[in-house]
């Protein structure tokens, strides 16, 4: 077998590869708030170890096998008038070897896999913070049974303490995914699933529904705020104090006149039929997200828009244009009405009663 010259234009052939590498480098400079590759909690960390164990082998096998393929293509390139090559039908020794080597690699990959399966499936410790996660088309409800509060679309947890999530759905199947803290766990109607994690870093993280759940699956996100234990305690205490909207009746947090108009509209325009400001004993039958303390939230519209006046106005005025098919209707509000409602909602910032009680 003679070694033939390379196929025409070897340099040209590598141009797309080089170009791809260049853009890959360019792409790495991006900021990815939903990345799985920078774990900030123990569960995600364990998953990441398994991922890195498999990806190492995958890259190695990729290089060896693609290398062998490329080498064979270049080395054994022939012409039609070449003599017939040796007619080899197989080689038992070789075939046994290349059956055995992948088997060995798989055993090496399987060991951390199995270990991590069992580690991540163990029951969290008794002092874990239990949170009930309830999936709705297309938003998330979070209940803290031990604290006695309910909130929506923004999960607050303390760093360093295990969070034990009990998940269920009110309608169809969803999947709860906080890439930086834990893997996915599907959320079923009529069946409780469970996942836990312990956040190691404080900060705000993004999550999103990962199981197709209808028209607005694409906009069913949420935020997770990880605070130190004091910060979490303050938040929980404030929430425990939120048994209704911030109103004129509370001199300490008196609303301005615009917000007062918003308070009226909230009732007259039927917002009140679906949304409650009571985080402690929300009235039954509320089909929309609980709005207790909504003025302090990072995001609105199920984690999709930053919580500021402009976004809130846009969302309230035309929920169907940003989130077509959402259960929140367009109420044909005037600009003035929208501004009043925005002012009212933005001022929903309940303070914790002094002294701050440590939540259990």
């Amino acid at each position: 077998m003679r070694l033939r010259s390379l196929p025409p234009g070897p340099v040209v052939r590598w141009v797309p590869v080089l170009a791809l590498l260049l853009v890959a480098v360019a792409g790495c400079a991006q900021h990815y708030p939903q990345t799985t590759l920078a774990p900030k909690g123990d569960f995600a960390q364990m998953v990441d170890h398994v991922f890195r164990a498999t990806v190492r082998w995958a890259v190695l096998v990729f290089l060896l096998v693609e290398g062998a393929l490329l080498y064979a293509i270049i080395r054994f390139r022939g012409r039609s008038d070449d003599p017939e090559p040796e007619q080899v039908h197989g080689n038992t020794t070789l075939e046994i070897i290349w059956t055995a080597i992948p088997a060995i690699i798989l055993v090496i990959v399987a060991i951390p896999t199995i270990r991590t399966i069992f580690e991540t499936a163990r029951v969290p410790r008794d002092d874990a913070l239990t949170v009930e996660v309830i999936g709705h088309q297309w938003w998330w409800e979070f209940r803290y049974p031990t604290i006695g509060i309910t909130t929506a679309n923004e999960l607050h947890v303390p760093a360093g303490r295990t969070v034990d999530l009990r998940l269920k759905s009110m309608d169809v199947i969803h999947s709860f995914w906080i890439p930086q803290l834990a893997g996915k766990r599907d959320v079923f109607p009529g069946r409780e699933t469970r996942i836990w994690f312990t956040a190691s870093d404080t900060g705000t993280f993004s999550g999103q529904c990962a199981e197709f759940c209808g028209i607005q699956h694409g906009k069913m996100g949420f935020r997770i705020v990880v605070s130190d234990s004091t910060g979490f305690g303050d938040w929980a205490a404030a929430m425990s104090n939120a048994t209704g909207p911030v109103t004129l009746a509370e001199p300490a947090t008196a609303l301005d006149s615009l917000a007062t108009a918003g308070q009226q509209l909230f009732t007259t325009k039927a917002c009140v039929g679906c949304h409650s400001f009571n985080a402690v004993t929300p009235p039954p039958g509320m089909v929309g997200p609980n709005l207790a303390n909504v003025g302090t939230r990072k995001a609105i519209a199920a984690g999709m828009l930053d919580n500021n006046n402009a976004n809130l106005a846009r969302w309230i005025q035309h929920p169907q244009s940003f989130k077509e098919g959402s259960h929140m209707p367009d109420l044909a509000l005037s600009d003035g009405e929208v501004q009043a409602l925005v002012a009212y909602l933005r001022q929903q910032r309940v303070r914790a009663p002094a002294p701050v009680a440590a939540p259990q």
Partner: protein
Amino acid sequence: MATSVIEQAGPQAHTRKAPTGIWSWITTVDHKRIGILYGVTAFFFFLLGGLEALLLRIQLGSANNTFLSPEAYNQLFTMHGTTMIFLGVMPLSAMYFNYIIPLQIGARDVVFPRLNAFSYWVFLVGGLVLNASFVFGAAPNAGWFGYANLTSTQYSPGLNVDFWVVGLQILGIASLAAAVNFFTTIVNLRAKGMRVLRMPMFCWMSLITQLLLLLAFPVITVALIFLMMDRYFGANFFRVSAAGDPMLWQHLFWIFGHPEVYILILPAFGIVSEILPVFSRKPLFGYAAMVFSGAFIAVLGFGVWSHHMFATGMGPIADASFGLLTMLIAIPTGVKIFNWIGTIWGGSIQLKTPMYFALGFIAMFIIGGLSGIMHSAVPADLQQTDSYFVVAHFHYVLFGGSIFALTAGTYYWFPKMTGKMLGEGLGKIHFWLMFIGFNVTFFPMHFLGLNGMPRRVYTYQPGLGFEFWNQVETIGSMVLGFSFLVFIVNIVLSLRKGQRAPADPWNGATLEWSIPSPPPEFNFAEVPEVTTRDPLWEEKRARGGHLPEPVRASGEGIHMPNPSKWPIIAALGIGVFFTGFLLGVKLPVILAGALLTIVAIFAWALEPAG
């Protein structure tokens, strides 16, 4: 020469004329014509599915894009998946089953030619019913695996899911009928001397595929019947409020769905295993290992369905078992890849277009296989599943794998099927555009998935870092789309004024190359007899390297089955039957359809066969 596999020059009498005209195609029972019908129809649906994908890619080209409404996006991604699987890749494989299997085993047709025609017409009806949904603005919109309870009348009240259920039921009938036919054909109609371990690898992989179809499709049929019961008659299979269980759907669907993946890829394995030896001028390396690894993959394929469901929280024992079984599949798959490389190793590689695509297949399938192993590492899969990482994975398997191989098969067998060569120059341009476009489109999806982009989202917000790679992918998808324009131009030019194809343009090893291109209606004037795995190579060696061009025999005295109008009528009856459900369970329509099918089947049974 008793063992000759070459058509001998018969008496030059008036050659038996193949009938022409539309009616001759509607009533045809010739496996070659049915193969061409499958191919043309499937290619049309494939282009439609590709067009749907391009629209999806345009929508995802920028953050918060409003090119498609969420509803339109959901319908298009559902139809893209459903179309590519059931109307694209499966029937493109069926084109080769039809056209090539009888030729490779030295048969004059399949065992049940009319059932074969029936399969095609039912497939066409199913494809048309599914796509008719677009006319009503109610294309299926619950994803190609249609998870319960989203598909219930409560959460999907429109016709969308009805079109999906009914379309899939019809297509299932086509697949089952075809599977019975090809399984029996391969078992019973092999040429004298063609023992099972002398069968061409494409026939072997096809045989295993038919077995998978026979075992997997009843499961989806049952699941779909459950869903129809729930939707039409208020049953409670998946209704949570009545103690039904949406998990039941997931198990049934994936018990079908995972073997379905092998139904899509095993024919591709077979095609590539035909092409590599011919263009390396060297027999397939490790023939027996190739057969048994294929069979092993098929058996294991029925034991890994729950790896699609790791995020459901099945518990550590189930997770570990399904994870390990999934890893096990990597071993026979690895054997195949190594044996393919072993086949070209030491060969005299002829880099013709079919070989480009076959080698491209190996290169891309390796990537899809490796990301598959990463999914089998269950904890890692909890991050990857339902993200763009998994979208990248299955496109490397089904596009980089199946589509590359099916395209290789087209360049390889097109001369046999049409009597015309496809252009080599355009073919290579097609390959490079497709290869580059494919990788630019799908490789970055790995990064997006790992960086937190879920699949099936109609848009994404700025600030998540998803813009850049999505934009790159959209550009790649345009290149990929363009490559198929080049392919179409190549086909049209070839059919119009292509170089005439000889019987054996590639120095082939198998029986289909021993007869003229395109073959006469009866394929073989004399039924061949084989003594080895590569009968044509043996023959050529025995005759000093070359064989004379086979002469077109008259075919006089060869008994071929009569054409029949009953298969298409039976298929129409099935269409009417299911349309009755679409109309809201209209009993008269349903009964009329059933009656039409039954009458047609009796008529075809009582009609003289030939």
